[in-house]
């Protein structure tokens, strides 16, 4: 049995819909704006393809659902990976998100785009993850080093990745860690808004939709998050 089961074309059987063609704009690497880190837009097919795939998936066509997944899964994985910082946790979020989507695709009524809908599912899972983490953090073992600074014992576990320039890598990991710490000081919602806007380039309007709130609220949340981060990282050059 070929392991490449993802290659099953969804037009097999009695499907009488036209075969979905990939949007040529997508192949040409669409979005040129360097500011826009929204790889999601580049990865997804045009809206109309999604609609056909969603309808097929709603009829129980699993291959159509798998095609839909393929349009979005790298972006979802990228988001989960950056947010959780761990590959296994990112995989868990990915698995939960798409299983949830599969089970509830029947309830999707096209009142928003599939893009927004899937992002909403992933974001809610991420928020849950962040909340759980906050609770765990309160009990995390903390020690004080020679200069009186508190640090997380769990962070001392070495990374295992060896680089060409160990000192620079160490520095970079230090900075990265400090940013991680600062991000953890945000509330889950603030963290989510900041993550989606800054690291994944979503427009504030989309962020609002994804979080079931207004663009204005998302904007204010972004301001608060940025202020907190600047405070926490004030001494970094």
């Amino acid at each position: 049995m070929p392991a490449g089961a993802w290659a099953v074309p969804f037009a097999v059987g009695e499907c009488s819909h036209p075969v979905v063609r990939r949007d040529p704009r997508e192949e040409a690497g669409g979005i040129q704006d360097p500011q826009l880190r929204g790889h999601m837009a580049g990865q997804a097919s045009g809206r109309i393809d999604d609609t056909l795939l969603v309808r097929e998936a709603q009829r129980g066509n699993r291959a159509a659902f798998e095609e839909l997944v393929r349009n979005y899964d790298q972006a979802v994985l990228r988001l989960a990976l950056h947010l959780t910082g761990s590959e296994p946790e990112a995989q868990d979020v990915y698995q939960e998100a798409f299983l949830k989507a599969y089970k509830s695709i029947g309830n999707f009524r096209f009142e928003c785009s599939f893009y927004t809908w899937i992002y909403r599912i992933v974001t809610n899972l991420c928020l849950d993850h962040l909340r759980k983490r906050q609770v765990r953090k309160e009990d995390a073992p903390v020690a004080t080093d020679a200069s009186g600074q508190q640090y997380d014992v769990l962070d001392q576990i070495p990374d295992g990745r060896s680089g060409a320039n160990p000192e620079r890598d160490l520095m970079r990991r230090e900075l990265g860690k400090r940013i991680s710490h600062a991000l953890e000081k945000l509330t889950p919602r603030e963290r989510m808004v900041f993550e989606l806007k800054h690291y994944h380039g979503l427009k504030l309007r989309t962020v609002g939709e994804v979080l079931h709130t207004t663009e204005e609220t998302a904007k204010n949340t972004l301001f608060r998050a940025t202020q907190k981060l600047r405070g926490a990282l004030a001494d970094m050059r």
Partner: protein
């Protein structure tokens, strides 16, 4: 004053979230104000620094592993919403026709007039196949194409020829050729794994028939759904000794099936023929270098139970 407004909005500016007119005004102000320009510089530096926690692209391994795990999850996920399959979706139906709205009304009229449900049943004796006639209510017959449209000149009369695919039903026992034909067709061609599973399930009750056995072997080799493959394995099990094709298909499954459950099942079903040279060769290879620990150890055990040759 103006600087206050600019300082508040410089963040949005850096994120390219400002409306065009606001952006223009801000840029105009920046050209004249050193203070605000410094603020912009600070904000940009802060943003650059945040990229010390870069967004990494998931590795191809991670993507592949996630997809495979999801696929397995989807197999077992409950899709207990088969009422969806019965939904008549007027929007999709109409889109298939691709018509000016005025004419779609005509189609409805023609459709209803010409396709009123005509069901009939032929009953004859015990166990003989009962065949129902075409049931073509608009909900169940989908229009596959419009052949022609013509309008009588100078009148309101429109005539449209259209083709339909209608759902039919066949009933009978497993011995009926027609039923068997349909089952064989379903096992290979249906995109719905549930239907394939049902047909393979029924076919396993009749594996003495050459065609049926071929269909089971085909399902074992090529079906994308591991549940269907396992069902086929079950049905073929008793024939592994008498039919070398069955044995070979099981060997293939053992070596290369993506699903560990199917591999294990194949391994166990090959027990009666473990002395065959082809089987022994495979077992030796598995015992040495297979990734799966259970399979490795089972292969070793099976080899150990063989009498020593050469």
């Amino acid at each position: 004053m103006k600087c206050e407004w600019v300082k508040e909005n410089v963040l949005l500016y850096v994120y390219n979230e400002l409306a065009d007119d606001a952006r223009y005004e801000l840029e105009q102000h920046l050209a004249r104000c050193a203070d605000c320009t410094a603020e912009l510089k600070t904000t940009r530096k802060f943003h650059a620094m945040l990229s010390e926690l870069p967004v990494e692209e998931p590795s191809p391994n991670l993507v592949a592993a996630s997809r495979m795990r999801l696929q397995e999850g989807l197999e077992t996920a409950e899709q207990g919403r088969f009422w969806h399959r019965l939904i008549f979706d007027p929007a999709a139906w109409l889109r298939q026709i691709r018509f000016a709205p005025a004419l779609t009304a005509a189609i409805f009229i023609v459709g209803f007039a010409g396709g009123i449900a005509t069901t009939y049943k032929v009953v004859s004796g015990n166990g003989a196949p009962i065949i129902s006639g075409p049931v073509s209510t608009p909900a169940e017959s989908s229009i596959t194409g419009i052949q022609s449209i013509s309008q009588d000149p100078g009148s309101n009369h429109i005539s449209i020829k259209y083709n339909t695919v209608s759902t039919q039903e066949a009933q009978g026992s497993l011995n009926d050729q027609r039923i068997q034909q349909l089952l064989l067709f379903a096992a290979r061609n249906n995109y719905n794994s549930g239907v394939r599973m049902d047909s393979v399930d029924l076919l396993t009750q009749e594996p003495n028939n050459m065609h049926v056995r071929e269909a089971l072997i085909y399902a074992l080799r090529y079906d994308s759904n591991p549940g269907v493959r396992l069902k086929a394995l079950d049905g073929l099990g008793p024939y592994v000794k008498s039919d070398p094709r069955v044995r070979d298909a099981m060997l293939e499954t053992l070596v290369q099936d993506a699903n560990p459950g199917a591999r294990t099942e194949a391994l166990h079903l090959l027990e009666p023929v473990r002395a065959d040279s082809s089987v022994r060769l495979v077992l030796q290879k598995l015992a040495q270098s297979d990734q799966n620990q259970y399979i490795r150890s089972q292969a070793r055990i099976m080899l150990a139970q063989l009498p020593e040759f050469d």
